[in-house]
């Protein structure tokens, strides 16, 4: 009942505002008239009576305002009024408006962009997977391992599939997607295939969009049926969404796989990256993943991921213990024996997916923290800008207070203003975020298939929250500070004095801002140094300038001799290309696969096999193509690369040291392979070349001419690489080289040609520092600009509010340099306090990022020196204009004004 009444009044107040106001006017007029009539009755003249009545009432406007405040819905109306007022007053200072909106928008989009990345990589469940939290990856981990050894093998899968009660389904899948050749000749392409067991789709609980997934028969041991499930994207790209796609066949290598189903749009299963097709493990393992004919029986090698869906209600730890019991009972062989205290550990799919991305959670967490710091800087900056603006309006505020506005009303008015600014900025921020996210997704995460679109509800919700936080925190302090004015001082003093306390709050804000900026710049510097350290590593290969080309000839059952013949034809074509300086053929390349080898001295035992020695078979010009320096001797020529020529080898520097520690290894004879193999003399020593890891020291390597490669089983030589060093820009030669390889022999699969720097394994290894440098760098620059703006604002405001004082000083004979010194000193004091505080915090917080750096200490003097110098320069630069302002003060005029 009361509520109905209230609603009715609310409606009347909002919809019939005019009538309600009129009624209030009438009511108050009647009150005044009645009062005046009283006075008249007591003998006053009509005009005296009217005046006396008005005095009694004590301000009609005030009474009206008080009454309005009692009305239902008044908050809405006054907010509306304040909004319009704020809007008009903001429009009157467009420079301020644009500056603040830009600052807030950049701060919010920095946070929203990072939020988007983290949200998608770490918190979005894989699409189309039922109850993804019960899907786990099985790894073998020691108690202290966070992740452990993630690859297992087929026999372990078979054992667990049969006995593991805690798991509803167990599935095996390749370690990662692999490129496989589809078609031949001009129409050939390479696609990303993912061999899985038939149970994989059941385990994930996904339903096909068309057709069906694999049956158990199609994945039966030892050799499954060549069928394929294609992704929605591949269906579009390759088949133009042909409705009759089921039953069509794909020529993969020299086999034809029949399409039996299409996966739903966006489904990538356990992978984060794109998948084009899924193949039954038993049909596709050979030759695409392994050439080992015994892969289904030998438990020694590990090459595949094991996934399981744990039954509801069973804790992961219990399920892991059950798996350990089963495996311990089933295996007593070398694999189980070599587990070194490692036991099964179940890692939830969400975690497992992002693990191999090269973006450790620590890095993402750190970036999120940095984005928050940017937001804090933005808040401090905007707060100080709003404070300055509020102080300029001190007279207006004082007049309003004098006229009876309550402090609460004024605070509300100023908060409405900051809310209006923040909301506007939020809208701008959405566009900026879209642009930034697109850039980051493209530049740094080209290999990820994102779960969600850039702009989604979570991102908008997050941005809205950020808007609110900025509005409240940036608006509250200026609002409270500026309305605290003691009435008379503000009115009397004008805009000159009476602001000591406020200037202090503003100065504190700027100091905080400088400190936070210093921290960000230090972080950016440390990451940049790490990236440069990593890039400057002597890898033995010029990754940015060397192209490699490969073709899946082995998948076509070409004999090793045939593979070698085709590759050499291709080599001749590539060498003939204008713009190619060197080219060579090789069994493998840096960051590619690798083969271990036994190396021994005649009459001696083989060198201990630790990490290496590793073997590579190469043609003439290999080291020149890589850009690896020959330390001694020479590299192979065409004359060496011949079955009948004298046996020769080239060794890496570290192998040379082991073979011949005290004198040159040149001319020494070593045996590569079995004891009875012929001795080959060392004709060259080459600098160490990285094998797979950018950071690890390169292991010892031995190189043989390709034609003398009897040491390897023939089946290992089913794939060869071409390697080429263009004279100019490597990227421009990619397509010519690919065409040259393709045209060498008709009916070949598609060739892959790319820079070594663009190999996925290299990109992944560098991502951490690239991401850190790019994001820290942009945050740092943003913060630097904001700090400069903040300092400039503070100093120039100071000068403006001390015109009088400076005028007096100049009138008393202060020289221009003294005035300038005073202004700069003030800027530098604020700056220096902030820099020292920021550097101190950064040094203390160094531990947090130490593990993410490379080759640089968390308190690197170069970095900190550079940051401090930058910040001081910014401090001086920010005071240039204020100094000019101060110097142009005319003493007489300053004294005369006010």
């Amino acid at each position: 009942m009361r509520f109905l009444n209230w609603l009715r009044s609310l409606w009347a107040n909002l919809a019939h505002r005019g009538r309600v106001e009129e009624s209030l006017d009438d009511e108050l007029r009647a009150y005044r008239d009645l009062l005046a009539a009283d006075y008249e009755r007591r003998g006053l003249s009509p005009s005296e009576a009217g005046r006396a009545a008005l005095i009694d009432i004590g301000g009609l406007a005030q009474v009206k305002e008080n009454t309005r405040e009692a009305w239902a819905g008044n908050a809405i109306l006054s907010a509306n009024r304040e909004l319009r007022y704020s809007w008009r007053s903001l429009l009157r200072s467009p420079a301020f408006l644009i500056t603040v909106v830009l600052i807030i928008a950049l701060g919010i989009s920095a946070n929203a962009t990072i939020f988007g990345v983290i949200d998608d990589l770490l918190f979005r469940p894989p699409v189309h997977v039922r109850d993804p939290e019960r899907v786990v990856l099985l790894s073998m981990a020691a108690p202290k391992d966070r992740v452990g050894q993630q690859t297992l093998n087929f026999p372990v899968y078979r054992t667990l599939r049969g006995e593991w009660r805690s798991a509803e389904f167990v599935a095996i899948a390749a370690f990662s997607t692999m490129e496989v050749p589809v078609g031949r000749g001009l129409a050939a392409e390479n696609v990303l295939a993912f061999p899985v067991s038939a149970s994989y789709f059941r385990m994930l609980g996904v339903e096909p969009e068309r057709g069906r997934f694999f049956t158990d028969d199609e994945d039966a041991e030892p050799n499954g049926v060549p069928v394929a499930v294609i992704s929605d994207g591949f269906w579009t790209r390759h088949f133009a969404r042909d409705a009759e796609v089921l039953g069509k066949s794909l020529e993969i290598g020299n086999r034809r796989f029949t399409v039996v189903g299409v996966a739903p749009n966006g489904f990538t299963g356990t992978e984060l990256g794109r998948v084009d097709l899924w193949l039954p493990m038993t049909a596709a393992m050979r030759p695409f993943v392994s050439d080992n004919p015994n892969w289904q029986r030998e438990a020694m090698g590990t090459y595949a991921h094991l996934f399981a869906r744990v039954r509801p209600g069973i804790p992961l730890a219990d399920a892991a213990r059950e798996a350990e019991r089963i495996l311990a009972a089933a295996y007593s062989d070398a694999w189980w024996g070599a587990r070194n205290g490692r036991t099964p550990k179940l890692i939830p799919l969400r975690v497992a997916r992002s693990m191999n991305l090269g973006t450790e959670n620590e890095l993402l967490t750190l970036l999120a923290a940095m984005a928050l710091i940017v937001l804090l800087i933005v808040i401090a900056n905007v707060a100080s800008l709003l404070l300055a603006r509020a102080l300029r309006r001190r007279r207006e505020i004082a007049v309003r207070l004098a006229l009876g506005a309550s402090r609460a009303q004024l605070v509300r008015l100023l908060l409405v203003e900051s809310l209006l600014l923040s909301v506007g900025s939020g809208v701008v921020a959405v566009f900026v975020t879209y642009w930034c996210s697109q850039a980051i997704r493209g530049l740094l995460f080209g290999d990820v298939s994102w779960t969600s679109t850039i702009v989604n509800y979570r991102l908008l919700g997050f941005s809205a929250l950020a808007v609110l936080v900025v509005a409240i925190f940036a608006g509250l302090l200026p609002a409270l500070e500026s309305t605290r004015a003691e009435l008379t001082t503000a009115l009397k003093a004008g805009a000159r004095e009476g602001g000591g306390q406020r200037r202090r709050s503003r100065r504190t804000l700027i100091v905080a801002q400088v400190a936070l900026t210093t921290m960000l710049l230090a972080g950016a510097g440390l990451f940049l140094r790490s990236l440069r350290n990593v890039s400057a590593l002597k890898l033995g290969v010029d990754t940015g300038r060397v192209l490699y080309g490969s073709m899946y000839l082995g998948a076509f059952d070409k004999r090793p001799d045939e593979v070698e013949r085709v590759t050499r034809v291709q080599l001749a074509q590539v060498r003939a290309l204008p713009g190619i300086a060197y080219a060579a053929v090789a069994l493998t390349i840096p960051f590619g696969p690798s083969w271990g080898a036994d190396v021994r001295l005649p009459g001696g035992d083989s060198l201990p096999r630790g990490d290496g020695p590793y073997l590579n078979l190469v043609g003439s010009g290999y080291f020149a193509s890589l850009g690896a320096r020959m330390l001694e001797g020479r590299e192979f020529t065409d004359a060496d690369d011949n079955r009948s020529s004298a046996r020769v080898v080239v060794v890496s520097a570290s192998l040379a040291r082991r073979v011949s520690p005290y004198r040159s290894a040149l001319g020494r004879c070593i045996i590569v392979g079995e004891k009875g193999a012929p001795c080959a003399s060392i004709i060259g020593v080459v600098e160490d070349v990285r094998r797979q890891d950018l950071l690890d020291e390169a292991p010892p390597m031995v190189y043989l001419p390709l034609a003398q490669a009897q040491v390897l089983p023939a089946s290992w030589r089913s794939e060869l690489y071409l390697i080429a060093r263009p004279a100019g820009d490597a990227r421009a030669m990619i397509e010519p080289m690919r065409r040259a390889m393709q045209s060498a022999v008709p009916g070949l699969p598609r060739a892959t040609v790319q820079r070594i720097a663009d190999m996925p394994s290299v990109v992944m290894q560098l991502r951490q520092w690239r991401l850190g440098t790019v994001l820290f760098g942009s945050f740092g620059v943003l913060a630097l600009v904001l700090a400069a703006v903040g300092l400039f604002g503070l100093i120039s405001y100071d000068v403006a509010s001390r015109v009088h004082e400076i005028g007096v000083r100049m009138a008393l004979g202060a020289r221009g340099t003294e005035v300038a010194g005073m202004v700069v000193r003030q800027a530098l004091t604020v700056d220096a306090i902030g820099v020292v505080a920021g550097a101190a915090v950064a040094i203390i917080a160094e531990r947090l990022i130490a593990s993410l750096l490379y080759g640089v200490s968390g308190h690197d003097p170069m970095v900190f020196g550079g940051v401090i110098a930058t910040m001081l320069i910014v401090g001086v630069a920010a005071s240039v204009v204020p100094v000019i302002q101060a110097l142009s003060i005319d003493a007489l005029e300053a004294l005369r004004s006010d």
Binding site: R2, D26, I57, V63
Partner: protein
């Protein structure tokens, strides 16, 4: 002039309800009646009177209508509604309880 006592928080509403319990009054009438009832201790200024009247009206305890005053001027008259009467008796009881308790507390030794 009579000594003015500051109004206790919440007493203004009760005084207004009480003032209107006998007959409908316009704004000035309400303030006169309160002055009279409290023997001049309370003088309600329009700055607090009108907000209170409007609030009580919105709460449904008062109803208002335009009518003619004693000397034939138009004025807005407030009267107690049924809900207002209930509210008056509830608040009166509450007030008695509070003042009894306060008296007991202040006279205890």
């Amino acid at each position: 002039m009579a000594r003015h006592t500051p109004l206790l928080q919440g007493t203004l509403d009760l005084l207004i309800l009480k003032a209107l319990s006998l007959q409908p009054l316009h704004g000035l009438g309400v303030s006169r009646r309160i002055e009279q009832m409290t023997k001049g201790a309370y003088v309600v200024r329009p700055g607090s009177l009108f907000p209170a009247l409007h609030r009580l009206e919105e709460q449904g305890w008062l109803a208002a209508a335009w009518g003619d005053s004693e000397n034939n001027r138009r004025a807005k008259f407030y009267r107690l509604t049924a809900a207002g009467k209930r509210q008056l008796s509830a608040e009166t009881d509450e007030w008695h309880r509070v003042s009894l308790a306060m008296r007991a507390a202040l006279e205890s030794t």
